[in-house]
């Protein structure tokens, strides 16, 4: 069924066994993101050196979608340049709005597993929490589109 399809193995695996959910030693950037309406929250920590996301992690509480999405995001952006990370976060936010090409979807790798959340408006905020936080942390001056 459509609403169930995004509770797939990728999502449940990242929710139950998140590789990136822990405090980060040596972090030099940190930002807390909260969804006031449902209480989901994450604190995103990054170590950025010479324009590269050398390491990242998060801690937080919330539904499987918010937590797994943050974990998947970190898998994708660790080791990338800040510009690449920002590019990917913008792609993800566009995917959730249902506006990406198949090639762009491939760029998102595992994060593409969350594509079907675009059909569940009430859960979109959960899926984008980590990505919005990343976007704001790396590019605080840019206007966040919702």
């Amino acid at each position: 069924m459509e609403t169930r399809s995004f509770y797939n193995q990728i999502l449940t695996e990242h929710n139950l066994r998140p590789a990136n959910k822990h405090p980060l030693e040596g972090a030099n950037m940190e930002l807390r993101g909260v969804n006031p309406s449902c209480g989901d929250n994450i604190t995103l920590q990054l170590r950025v050196e010479n324009g590269v996301v050398e390491d990242g992690a998060y801690v937080g509480d919330g539904c499987a979608i918010s937590q797994a999405s943050a974990d998947i995001m970190l898998d994708l952006v660790i080791g990338r340049s800040v510009d690449e990370a920002l590019h990917l976060s913008k792609l993800f936010l566009r995917m959730i709005k249902g506006k990406v090409t198949d090639e762009e979807l491939e760029e998102l790798e595992e994060a593409g597993a969350l594509q079907d959340i675009s059909h569940m408006p009430a859960r979109v905020k959960c899926a984008v929490l980590g990505w919005h936080t990343l976007d704001t942390l790396l590019d605080p001056d840019a206007e966040n589109e919702d």
Binding site: M1, T3, R4, Y7, N15, C38, G39, A122, C126
Partner: protein, 413 residues
């Protein structure tokens, strides 16, 4: 009753609700949020607009008189339903929230002074908490909270201890929208009165599920919403003792609530119109009146019997799952069809979304009672809430679907 008699009764009741009859695949278990509407409510609203529509209380022609009669007959029907002593004590509002705000603005502006105290319980819905906090802040009064125990019980002793000589007003929910527990309003109101405090009762979850007699409870104010008892959205009621309404200033100002206006002055209309500024929601009142008729037709004996049987089954089904933890009372009947719970390892929003995939509709979140959630140290929970039109089949389906959730979330048990 035999199984066959129960099924026949289910069918007779459910055939009255078009959305339910038309969608047998849906198990609607979010009745504390809003109920479904029966055919008679829908047709009463339509009939008003098709046959009786004019601005009530104002026109001097026959059609306006019909609209006025429809509106005022609805008021009389609600009066009888609550056993109020006069239609002057029945104010139509938009919902319970507006009813409570009316008291918080109007009564408090006249009678609440700096240094006074308002007492509310920790289990109040935000609607019966925030208006009082704002009212207290406006005049320099204090809002105090009365806590319950783990099962949601407030004892007479605890209530007496929380009252002080400064307590001017007590606001208390009759049936909690989270715990389902019923407060002994009659006893608490009597104690409050003996201390010189007025008593405001939030009846949003009680009026739709148990007989409520405002004279027997002897509350000063009681608020409820039409849409939680099969009436339309956008119509609510404030019951208020006449002695207070006479002394209270208007809440909203404008049309229909005046007797005489000059450039400098105005005199207010008679009760209850003094508190109903602007063109009224006549079709809403007519729809609510049709809902009252349905309650009368089915009868509270049947409503309570059905909801109790369904509640016991729901309690049993939820308790049978070792990963489910029901918040509050350990006995089914104390829940009045409201079961708030957690499921180990699965966030309530995920529970509600997965159940949505099975066409089982429940609520998840903080239920507009965040201070209670903080007190219970459960930031987010799932909630099943029943109405008399629910069935055993729906509850068994809920239990089965809940039993599959941990597996769907990747747990290997």
């Amino acid at each position: 009753m035999t199984k066959q008699e129960i099924l026949a009764e289910d069918l007779a009741i459910r055939s009255r609700f078009p959305l339910i009859a038309g969608h047998p695949e849906i198990a609607y278990l979010d009745n504390a949020a809003t109920t479904q509407r029966p055919d008679t409510v829908l047709s009463a609203i339509e009939k008003f607009y098709r046959e009786d529509n004019a601005n009530p209380l104002r026109g001097l022609y026959a059609l306006s008189q019909r609209a006025t009669d429809a509106y005022e007959n609805a008021r009389e029907n609600v009066r009888a339903f609550l056993n109020a002593s006069s239609t002057e004590e029945i104010i139509f509002t938009r919902n319970a929230s507006e009813s409570l705000n009316l008291v918080a603005y109007s009564w408090c502006s006249a009678f609440l002074k700096a240094g006074d105290e308002i007492l509310v319980t920790i289990m109040e819905h935000h609607s019966d908490m925030l208006p009082w906090r704002q009212a207290a802040e406006r005049v320099g009064a204090t809002l105090r909270f009365l806590e319950c125990d783990d099962e949601g019980l407030i004892t007479e002793e605890a209530f007496r201890a929380a009252l002080t000589e400064k307590t001017r007003l007590v606001a208390m929910v009759q049936i909690s929208n989270v715990l389902g527990v019923e407060n002994d309003i009659r006893t608490f109101a009597a104690i409050a009165h003996a201390q010189g405090a007025v008593f405001v009762c939030d009846g949003a979850q009680s009026v739709p599920h148990i007989p409520v007699d405002v004279q027997a409870l002897d509350v000063d104010f009681l608020a409820f919403s039409g849409h939680k008892m099969c009436g339309p959205m956008g119509i609510g009621v404030l019951y208020a003792k006449k002695q207070w309404l006479k002394k209270m200033p208007p809440f909203l100002y404008g049309g229909e609530m005046i007797e005489y206006v000059t450039r400098e002055d105005a005199t207010w209309a008679e009760l209850p119109h003094k508190f109903e500024a602007g063109t009224v929601n006549a079709s809403g009142a007519v729809g609510l009146s049709a809902a009252v008729d349905l309650y009368r037709e089915i009868g509270f004996d049947t409503i309570v019997r059905r909801e109790q049987r369904l509640g016991r089954l729901a309690f049993e089904v939820l308790s049978a799952n070792e990963h489910i933890h029901i918040i509050g009372a350990k006995n089914a009947d104390a829940h009045h069809g409201i079961f708030t719970f957690t499921l180990d390892g699965v966030h309530p929003h995920d529970i509600a979304t997965i159940l949505d995939g099975d066409n089982v509709y429940i609520r998840a979140g903080h239920h507009c009672a965040q201070p209670l959630m903080q007190f219970l140290q459960t930031p987010s929970t799932a909630r099943v809430s029943l109405a008399f039109y629910n069935t055993e089949e729906e509850i068994l389906r809920l239990g089965e679907c809940l039993g599959q959730i941990r597996g769907k979330m990747g747990y290997g048990d």
